[in-house]
């Protein structure tokens, strides 16, 4: 099992979200853990809206939600790191 911590900084809402995303054998994923990390690292220091379309879609579908992002305003992908499982 591998897991990653993604920190979103909502500058307008003055809030930090720490999302843990887990790759376990029992989970169905359309992306490998390595590809996920590469995709997300390319987003670091960018607002979610500035991430490439694949990363933006993945964040909207699996890490947060479109409605939550719309409600919270500008969200910066502050960091992405693999953490011990």
């Amino acid at each position: 099992m591998r897991q990653f911590k993604i920190i979103f900084n909502w500058t307008e809402a003055d809030h930090i979200d720490e999302v843990i995303y887990v790759f376990a054998p029992e989970h169905t994923k359309e992306i490998t853990a390595d590809d996920f990390l590469t995709m997300m690292l390319a987003c670091v220091s960018k607002s979610i809206s500035e991430c490439d379309s694949d990363a933006k879609s993945y964040i909207e579908r699996y890490l947060l939600s479109e409605e939550y992002i719309a409600d919270m305003g500008v969200g910066i992908v502050e960091s992405v790191e693999e953490i011990s499982a």
Partner: protein
């Protein structure tokens, strides 16, 4: 009426896009966990696509420090402030004491399967998206509030998740709420309870302690044990 606020260790956990119902509901470890979120428009969610091969299951875990509750409360109400969607029917269930999370320790993804089939409430069939929702806790919950120092609960969907019934094709049900990490406490989850009398505080012959005044003529406040228990 004392209040106990949920610890900020609460967490939203989710499984997304699994090809089978069991693959989304019965896994040991959640795919995504957020223990820092302040609110979620779809904290509780059950969804499946038209092809019935992409299932989502979302749950909300929280805990209360009930070490100060020494007698079974006469009644207790869980209050959760709604937010956004409100079309999932909910139920409050017990989280196993073995879960990592408690009122001072963040829940972890591996706690996803620590929900039990023990109901702490009836089905919640209406939900305000813009005010506190008051959920009456049952006698099992009242007993556990006094016997456990950490009162661990989960809010889950009733009709499909609790019932373990795969949703029909095209179903999407979501209910949103505020979490303990919301700034201030005006929208935080809490339990308001009516203190019970000190004394024997356990169910006797299937009757909740809160409903018992005496046992064989002895006031419950004067009973430490029944038949040595």
């Amino acid at each position: 009426m004392p209040d106990i606020y949920a610890g900020t260790s609460d967490a939203a956990m989710r499984m997304d896009n699994e090809s089978t119902w069991a693959g989304a509901r019965d896994v040991a470890t959640a795919e995504t966990i957020n223990a820092t979120q302040s609110k979620n428009n779809a904290a509780i969610k059950i969804a499946v696509n038209a092809g019935e091969n992409q299932y989502d299951v979302y749950r909300y875990f929280l805990a209360f420090d009930t070490s100060g509750v020494t007698a079974t409360p006469d009644s207790a109400t869980l209050k959760i402030h709604g937010f956004s969607y409100n079309n999932a029917q909910l139920i409050i269930v017990k989280v196993d004491a073995g879960a990592t999370g408690d009122s001072g320790t963040d829940y972890v993804a591996a706690d996803f399967d620590q929900v039990t089939s023990t109901a702490y409430s009836s089905e919640v069939t209406s939900w305000s998206a813009s005010a506190y929702n008051e959920i009456t806790l049952n006698s099992t919950a009242l007993s556990d509030m006094s016997s456990l120092d950490e009162f661990k609960i989960a809010v889950i969907d009733h009709d499909f998740d609790y019932s373990d019934s795969a949703p029909p094709a095209g179903t999407t049900r979501r209910t949103g709420m505020y979490f303990a990490n919301q700034s201030g406490t005006s929208k935080d989850p809490l339990i308001s309870y009516v203190e019970g009398s000190a004394g024997y505080g356990h169910t006797v012959s299937g009757v909740a302690a809160g409903s018992i005044a005496t046992v064989t003529g002895v006031a419950t406040a004067n009973i430490a044990k029944v038949s040595g228990v």
